[in-house]
Each structure stands twice: as structure tokens, then as C-alpha cells.
């Protein structure tokens, strides 16, 4: 199957499988979590695969012990479970000891839309990005996901890769260099939308709507949330153009905060509007589209909100 036709999870684990076949130091630990793309790992590379059971804290610290014994370790579960549940273990056992362990979380934002706040990942990126030494990737397409498998293998240090459950159109060419941390995907003279993950795709729909109102918006994909490439971000935002950040995550701490921090630290005077989930948990059990409508994150609401804000 083509890479565009598979899930982010399968794109990641297919790429990781190819790496692990070449290097038996690569270990994959899951928190009692399976997937068809993991099956070949557990059958073909059984000595490199461990199901650590429903015990994420233990899994993180086991990963630390393996990493200090020469292994390159990946730990995998649903996004909040592999981050928030074991946050202190990630801080102390991965970041303080600067270990080559990558946490892979599936279910970015409202991927698990019908599962409630237990499974929604709306704070994970915000808390992971503040950890010293932690690299946080929030991919928007499968080309990027496969590249992150390789980058996380090659680059030492702790990392968090946050995968969506949906399939998205490809936005990047094969062999794109993702070391910049962000990309200007669409130019626009009137304003800039900075988005990440699935919201990059929402941003394309929003810009089409804005164009009907003669607003030409640029789109920036901020796919590495930490460390942020400040200089490039300031450069692509342009001078004095209004900036809107777009994420499903809680507004506090998320990409809106990242952009606000970069602007404040660099004396950037542009207007900034941060769109995302306002200070609440979502107890609606519905499709992602329904949740977006409920939260004002559907294309129409975002477009209306931006137009009103620009006036």
C-alpha cells in the first residue's frame, strides 16, 4: 500500500521496522497496545519487542534501564497514557539522564473523539515541550512521520512523537528535510496561520474560505514543538502581519503559547489570535467534526472568527 493510504501509526511502525531489522539495538515497548503494523515486529523481531502491560510508569523506567544498557528504545501507547500518566518518569528517567528513548503516542488532539477526556490528548504536547532536552514532533503527514522514525533513531536524547489516527493528504515530497522544525506551506500576503498536526489540513480549508473574502493567508506547519526554530518562525511569520495559531489542544501551553513566547522574546508586535480548546474538558462523545463544531474549530467557525478578529 502507498504511504498516503495508511495510517500515521502504520507509516511510523513500517519505517521503524525497516530500521530495527538493520539494528538489533532498536527496542519497541508497548503498553498492552497492538496494531497490525506491530504484528510483524513481534513475530519477526521478537527479541526487540516487549509488551510491558498496562503499566506505563514501569514501561518508561524499564526503557531507561534498556537505554543505559545500549538499546535505542521506543515506547508506545495512547498519547495521554504515554505522557501524562508517566510524566515524572519521563522527566527524571529520560530527560534528567538524557537517554535515547522515544515516546510514541497515538491519538493527537481529538483523534479518539468518542472516548472522552481520558483519551483526548489536549495537554500532552504542552507539558512535554517544557521538559529540558525533550524534542517534540507533531507530524501532519505520513512522509513526515516516516522521516521522524529515522530522525528519532539517529539523534540521541528523549523525544515525543505524536501521531494522529486519521489519514491526511501528503503535503511534503519524499526526502524532504525536516530538520528546520517548521515549513511555510502556503504563501499569503495578508496574514499567517500557524498550525500543527491535523489542523494544518484544516488551515488549508480555512484559507480557501478566507480567499472568498479577499484575505490571502499564509500557512506555516509548526511540526516540531520543541525546540522551536525561533529565527525561522519569525522570518516566515512576516513583519506586522496578523498571526492566528490553530490547534485542537488547550490554548494554554500549546502552539499559541509557543508563538506568543517567540513573539514576546523577540519584540514582535504583530497581532496574535490563539485558536484552540478554551479551558475545558470535552465530555461530548461524538465524531471529531461534531467536536470541532462544538468547540468552534470547524472550518466555518474558524473562518468567521478570523474575519471578525481582523476587523
Amino acid at each position: 500500500m502507498k504511504i498516503a493510504d495508511i495510517s500515521m501509526r502504520d507509516a511510523f511502525f513500517d519505517a521503524l521496522y525497516d530500521i530495527a531489522r538493520q539494528d538489533d539495538r532498536v527496542m519497541l515497548l508497548t503498553g498492552d497496545f497492538g496494531a497490525p503494523s506491530l504484528d510483524k515486529f513481534r513475530t519477526d523481531l521478537s527479541r526487540q519487542y516487549i509488551n510491558a502491560g498496562v503499566a506505563e510508569q514501569n514501561m518508561v523506567t524499564i526503557a531507561a534501564g534498556l537505554a543505559l544498557s545500549g538499546k535505542i528504545v521506543y515506547i508506545y501507547s495512547i498519547a495521554p497514557f504515554v505522557t501524562l500518566r508517566c510524566f515524572e518518569q519521563i522527566k527524571l528517567d529520560l530527560c534528567c539522564m538524557k537517554l535515547h528513548v522515544t515516546a510514541v503516542g497515538v491519538g493527537a488532539g481529538y483523534s479518539y473523539s468518542t472516548s472522552g477526556p481520558t483519551h483526548h490528548a489536549t495537554e500532552d504536547a504542552a507539558v512535554m515541550r517544557i521538559l529540558p532536552g525533550m524534542t517534540v514532533y507533531n507530524p501532519s503527514d505520513n512522509i513526515m512521520v516516516a522521516a521522524f522514525a529515522g530522525m528519532s533513531y539517529r539523534d540521541p536524547g528523549p523525544k515525543y512523537i505524536r501521531l494522529d489516527r486519521e489519514k491526511f493528504p501528503l503535503r511534503y515530497e519524499e526526502k524532504h528535510d525536516f530538520s528546520d522544525g517548521l515549513a511555510l506551506l502556503k504563501r499569503g500576503k495578508d496574514m499567517t496561520i500557524i498550525a500543527s498536526g491535523m489542523m494544518v489540513h484544516q488551515a488549508f480549508k480555512v484559507t480557501e474560505e478566507l480567499l472568498k473574502h479577499s484575505i490571502d493567508a499564509a500557512i506555516v506547519d509548526l511540526y516540531r514543538l520543541s525546540p522551536v526554530n525561533d529565527n525561522l518562525l519569525l522570518q516566515v511569520m512576516g513583519k506586522n502581519k496578523p498571526v492566528v495559531t490553530l490547534a485542537e489542544d488547550l490554548v494554554a501551553g500549546g502552539i499559541g503559547s509557543i508563538v506568543a513566547e517567540v513573539m514576546a522574546d523577540n519584540g514582535c508586535q504583530s497581532r496574535l489570535k490563539r485558536l484552540g480548546t478554551e479551558n475545558q474538558y470535552v465530555f461530548q462523545y461524538a465524531s471529531r467534526e461534531c467536536l470541532h463544531s462544538h468547540l468552534g474549530l470547524d472550518v466555518a467557525s474558524i473562518t468567521t472568527g478570523i474575519l471578525r478578529w481582523l476587523q
Binding site: A63, G65, L68, S69, M97
Partner: protein
């Protein structure tokens, strides 16, 4: 030591010397905590015989090559007992004994809780309780995967057994059949704010470890014969990890500290230090 590329492991001392070494470690612990003006004497002193037996008798290790890949691993999960570990590392040759006087000083490699990125011989940075056993599981799993014969020793506090992660790790060590792994539980029956019994009852502790699938031995944690024979027994256990519930006395060796919860995290004053060193002479 090393000769050329060859690693010469630390030579185990005769059993008859262990008590004297333990006494020296206690002097080091009291002196360094007193000099620092803060630290955790009680839980450091209760673990002295266990740590002495491991570093001076049981473990294959090489102080001049802390990263020797074949070394047995000691993981101090109860990180506040770092002074006991530092004393053993210094006295066995990882760094000069004189460096112990820098405990908790700005710029020192010997901080209040051990930092593996700074201190030679420290396997794991610890200080937040409950995590060392999981780290030991990863280290012991790696031995099997890397075809290494090293053994893994983890020291856990009795109060630390309040932490849920200890039991996640206990479950997994049994599940993975890690017979290259030993957990010592320094069961001094006191924790920061009182007795285990009053704060959070962990009994029956030995039965809990047994129920989690561990080969469990209960010993007097200050008796070298019992420590050494339990470790010999552990080496012969196949297919399951061994838990050694070591009944100990918090503050052991210093009359006014023994079984006193207030010396969990308080340094002795100069007068108390003098008295302690007289008792340890």
C-alpha cells in the same frame, strides 16, 4: 583496575573485614552529612551492611572503569540514602575519599541525591521513590538480550514500597523471569513521618513479594552471614527474581539515632557528631 585493555575486577575482601568496612562507611556517612549540614542519616545507616556486602564482597565491578560493560549493577532506588552509596564508591576506589567532604556543596559531584551524569559508579539518578526497580528490570532484561552475565541488585526502602510503581516493576520482573535480579528491601519500619505501621501499613511485606512471584528471603539486614548466604541462595534460583526483605534498624550503629524517625532527614549537630564518631571508633 586495568592492565592494558584487560579489566581486573575489584578483589573481594575476606568476610572478616566486612564489619570494619561497614564501620568506616558509617563514619563517612556521619561525617559527610554533618559537614554538609543536611542529609538523610537514618536510611543511609540502615543500608550499610547490604551495600558493604555488595561492593566489597559480592559484585563484580571495577572502580577505575565504572562503565565496564560486564559489571554487576547496583541501583539505589531509595535515592536519599546516597551518602551510603557515596561512601561505598569512595572506599572501593571510584573517587577519592576526601571528596566525600564536598557532599551537597555547590559544584560537587556528590549531590543530595545521586546523579549518574555526574558521579562515577552511580547507575541511576534517583531521589523520587519507586523507580529503581523498574530501571533494574530494564537493565536485567538487557543482560539477557545482550548475552551478558551481569547481575542486577536494587535497593528499595520499606516505606518506598508505598509507591505503586514498585509493584508494577515487581509484577514485570516475575513475568520476564529475571533470575539475574535481586531486590533488597531495607525494611527499617520507619518512614519520613512515622512508622510504616502508622503511615501506610505495608505488611505482610515478605508475603507480598512472594505473592508477586519472587523468591523471597527474610534476613537480619545487619548480619553479614545472613546477607551473604541469601545472595548465594539467590544465585541458584532459576526462572524468578529474588527479594531479600532485610530487617534493619534506622540509624543503626549510633545509639541516639537508632529507631528515631527524626533522624530520617536531619543532620547531627557538632556535639552529636562527636558522640557518633566516638561510638563508631
Amino acid at each position: 583496575m586495568t592492565i592494558g585493555d584487560q579489566i581486573i575486577p575489584f578483589s573481594p575482601v575476606p568476610d572478616t573485614e566486612l564489619s570494619a568496612i561497614a564501620k568506616q562507611l558509617r563514619r563517612d556517612i556521619v561525617t559527610m552529612i554533618s559537614t554538609a549540614g543536611s542529609g538523610h542519616p537514618g536510611g543511609s545507616l540502615s543500608a550499610v551492611e547490604i551495600i558493604t556486602a555488595l561492593y566489597f564482597k559480592i559484585m563484580r565491578h571495577c572502580p577505575s572503569e565504572p562503565g565496564w560493560i560486564e559489571r554487576d549493577r547496583f541501583i539505589l532506588s531509595k535515592g536519599h540514602a546516597a551518602p551510603a552509596l557515596y561512601a561505598a564508591l569512595a572506599e572501593s576506589g571510584y573517587f577519592p575519599v576526601s571528596e566525600l567532604a564536598t557532599l551537597r556543596k555547590l559544584g560537587s559531584r556528590l549531590q543530595g541525591h545521586a546523579d549518574r551524569t555526574a558521579t562515577p559508579g552511580v547507575e541511576m539518578s534517583s531521589g523520587s521513590l519507586g523507580q529503581g526497580l523498574s530501571f533494574g528490570v530494564g537493565t536485567a532484561l538487557a543482560a539477557g538480550l545482550n548475552n551478558k552475565k551481569y547481575r542486577v541488585y536494587v535497593l528499595i526502602g520499606g516505606g518506598e514500597c508505598n509507591e505503586g510503581q514498585v509493584w508494577e516493576a515487581a509484577m514485570s520482573a516475575y513475568h520476564f523471569k529475571l533470575d539475574n535480579m535481586v531486590a533488597f528491601i531495607d525494611h527499617n519500619e520507619l518512614q519520613l513521618d512515622g512508622t510504616n505501621h502508622d503511615i501506610m501499613n505495608i505488611e505482610p511485606l515478605g508475603e507480598k513479594w512472594s505473592a508477586f512471584g519472587w523468591h523471597t528471603i527474610e534476613i537480619d539486614g545487619h548480619n553479614f552471614n545472613e546477607i551473604l548466604s541469601s545472595l548465594e541462595e539467590a544465585k541458584n534460583i532459576k526462572g524468578q527474581p529474588t527479594a531479600i526483605v532485610a530487617h534493619t534498624i534506622k540509624g543503626k550503629g549510633i545509639s541516639y539515632m537508632e529507631n528515631k524517625v527524626e533522624f530520617h532527614g536531619k543532620a547531627p549537630n557538632p556535639e552529636e557528631t562527636k558522640k557518633a564518631l566516638q561510638e563508631l571508633a
